[in-house]
């Protein structure tokens, strides 16, 4: 059996060299095509719950790596969030907003509008942004050193216009 793969940021490759003509961007539809086909196959192989769990885990890894490579953890919290918001807009991931922040308990209600994963989807009646849940928890884990859970309350796919996440530290 082959050894498990360990992700590293360098594996994303040198896009200026690799895509001199096409550049670093692609279409959201293609991104979603990959994500939803993964979802299709994995859910059939492993079941819906396991698939969802794996998407959260992958998102968490992505969030930690993103924070480590794209953000400055030395910034004070407010500026860190402002920076994160700008980066997510620049990279066309989504529009991050804070609706509530309890800085003592470190509990937040965050929203992401025009989310890469779900905005414009038909109304399925359930939240679909498992990957985002993991991503948010991963970013905060990397910034604070503490584990977080992010749970999506509202989603485009449940009839909302923004994805709304409740973020809390994991009780120990």
């Amino acid at each position: 059996m082959k050894k498990a793969y360990d992700f590293s940021w360098q594996d994303l490759g040198d896009l200026t060299a690799g895509r001199p003509n096409l550049g670093g961007e692609t279409s959201v539809a293609i991104y979603r095509l990959m994500q939803f086909t993964f979802k299709d196959i994995l859910s059939k192989e492993l079941g819906r719950e396991k698939t969802s769990e794996l998407f959260v885990k992958a998102g968490y890894l992505a969030g930690r790596e993103f924070c480590r490579n794209m953000l400055s953890t030395a910034l004070p919290f407010n500026e860190f969030i402002a920076d994160l918001k700008l980066k997510l807009i620049d990279l066309k991931v989504g529009i991050l907003q804070v609706e509530q922040a309890d800085m003592e308990r470190f509990e937040f209600i965050l929203t992401v509008s025009e989310d890469l994963d779900c905005s414009g989807l038909p109304i399925f009646g359930e939240t679909v942004c498992d990957y985002d849940e993991g991503f948010i928890a991963g970013v905060l884990r990397e910034y604070t050193g503490k584990e977080f859970t992010a749970r999506e309350l509202d989603c485009w796919a449940t009839g909302d216009r923004t994805c709304r996440f409740v973020v809390k530290p994991v009780e120990r």
Binding site: I95, D154, D160
Partner: protein, 437 residues
């Protein structure tokens, strides 16, 4: 049993009414019961319409709630009309949070994708950042400046104190904020006497927006210590309205001390320049000045004045026999003896060597002679350390209207010479009595 025509007519009536009167408090009421329809497609259409009516009502209520600022209002997930309002609701919740953040000093907030509102908000943030950096600069200036600075309102209540002010007077901004600072610090003069701060020119200047400077002011520190300060007060005016004043002050204790010591040094230098180093009485230079003054006075008022010049008899013998140190001692004792036996208006000085000179204001020639004789006798009776007995000879001259210091002292000198010639330990007056002046 209802027909589709009936359904359309009823609907039309209901909608026409709504268009005319608005949706109102009770909302749109779906006018027909779906059960009335037997035809399945008609019934399905009817049910969908009823649901849409419900969603419209709900959306209307959500819009109303948002218009009233109720950002927690809820709406069912399947409501397709409410979706943009939900986006608005989300933005408004975020804006509320952002506003609170800004109020708490977080200027990293930016509003994105809200059109003109974004522009205005971000513009506001930019101005606040400018203001903050200006404030920061001012704070740095007031922090490092070596002056105590108070910002007060027109009543003198404290609004701001820089660290130097706290350091100088001991009052922190926390304990004095909003209190009339001058009641605590501006209530005494340098000797400790209390006055009513309300009556001071400083408080008057603050209340009336006037410029005020005081280089000789005293502030009372929290410890009770009185601190001499140099103070500048300038009005703070915004637009047309007087906001209060800025007081800048610094401790001038050191400066005061320096001035005092300078004063002492100058007095000492002055004394050194005017006294004889050995005997401590006036020297010849100072005597000349004093004589000039006395001559001028006598000339102006026509008053009498005598000059008594005297010399220690056989002083050379004293030096030769007992040494110069003993000679100096005799000179010192002589100066002391004479000084003790003249009046405060009379002036004695060392003329040079063993010669002394006295100004006796108000004395004519005869009075001068009498005074000289008294002094001569006193010296004769004084027991000096070595040798025991010392005598002096006096020459006396009286002021004449045309006298200069030189002519006057010369005549006294001539008389003294004669006293020596005539056997010492005696008084001689000038040759011819003075013309009356």
């Amino acid at each position: 049993m209802s027909s589709s025509t009936h359904l359309l007519e009823t609907l039309n009536h209901c909608l026409a009414q709504a268009m005319e009167r608005g949706i109102g408090k009770n909302g749109l009421t779906f006018p027909i019961s779906c059960e009335e329809f037997q035809d399945p497609s008609c019934r399905c259409f009817c049910e969908n319409l009823e649901q849409i009516f419900g969603q419209i009502n709900e959306t209307y209520r959500l819009a109303e709630a948002l218009a009233n600022g109720q950002l927690k209002a809820e709406v069912s997930r399947s409501n397709i009309f409410a979706m943009p309002l939900k986006a608005l609701q989300s933005s408004l919740r975020h804006l509320t949070w952002q506003t609170n953040q800004v109020a708490a000093g977080d200027l990293s907030q930016q509003v994105t994708f809200l059109g003109e509102f974004s522009e205005s908000f971000n513009h506001m943030i930019e101005s606040l950042r400018d203001k903050k950096s200006l404030e920061q600069r001012l704070k740095t200036i007031t922090d490092v400046i070596g002056e105590g600075i108070y910002l007060v309102d027109t009543k003198g209540a404290l609004l701001f104190a820089n660290p130097e002010a706290e350091k100088l007077l001991g009052y922190g901004i926390e304990e004095m904020a909003g209190k009339i600072i001058l009641h605590a610090i501006h209530k005494q003069v340098a000797d400790g006497t209390l006055f009513a701060p309300e009556e001071t020119r400083l408080l008057h200047a603050i209340a009336n927006g006037q410029t005020y400077n005081d280089n000789d002011c005293v502030f009372t520190c929290k410890s009770g210590r009185l601190m001499p300060v140099s103070l500048a007060c300038r009005p703070v005016v915004t637009g047309d309205s007087l906001e209060g004043a800025v007081l800048a002050f610094h401790d001038i204790s050191e400066q005061k001390k320096y001035q005092e010591s300078l004063h002492k040094i100058n007095a000492l230098l002055d004394m050194q320049a005017s006294t004889d180093g050995l005997t401590g009485i006036y020297n010849r230079a100072k005597f000349s000045k004093l004589l000039k003054v006395e001559i001028a006075r006598a000339a102006r008022y026509g008053s009498a004045m005598s000059i008594l010049m005297f010399d220690i008899d056989k002083f050379k013998d004293v030096n030769d026999t007992y040494g110069h140190q003993s000679g100096d001692k005799v000179l010192i004792e002589m100066a002391r003896a004479i000084h003790h036996n003249i009046r405060s208006t009379e002036i004695v000085a060392r003329w040079g060597g063993e010669e002394f000179i006295i100004i006796a204001p108000g004395c004519g020639l005869e009075q001068g002679r009498q005074l000289a004789d008294i002094l001569r006798l006193k010296v004769e009776q004084t027991a000096f350390s070595v040798p025991r007995k010392i005598t002096v000879s006096f020459g006396v001259a009286v002021f004449r209207a045309d006298d200069t210091e030189i002519s006057l002292t010369n005549r006294a000198d001539t008389a003294l010479y004669r006293a020596k010639e005539n056997g010492r330990n005696r008084v001689e007056t000038e040759d011819s009595p003075a013309d009356p002046v």
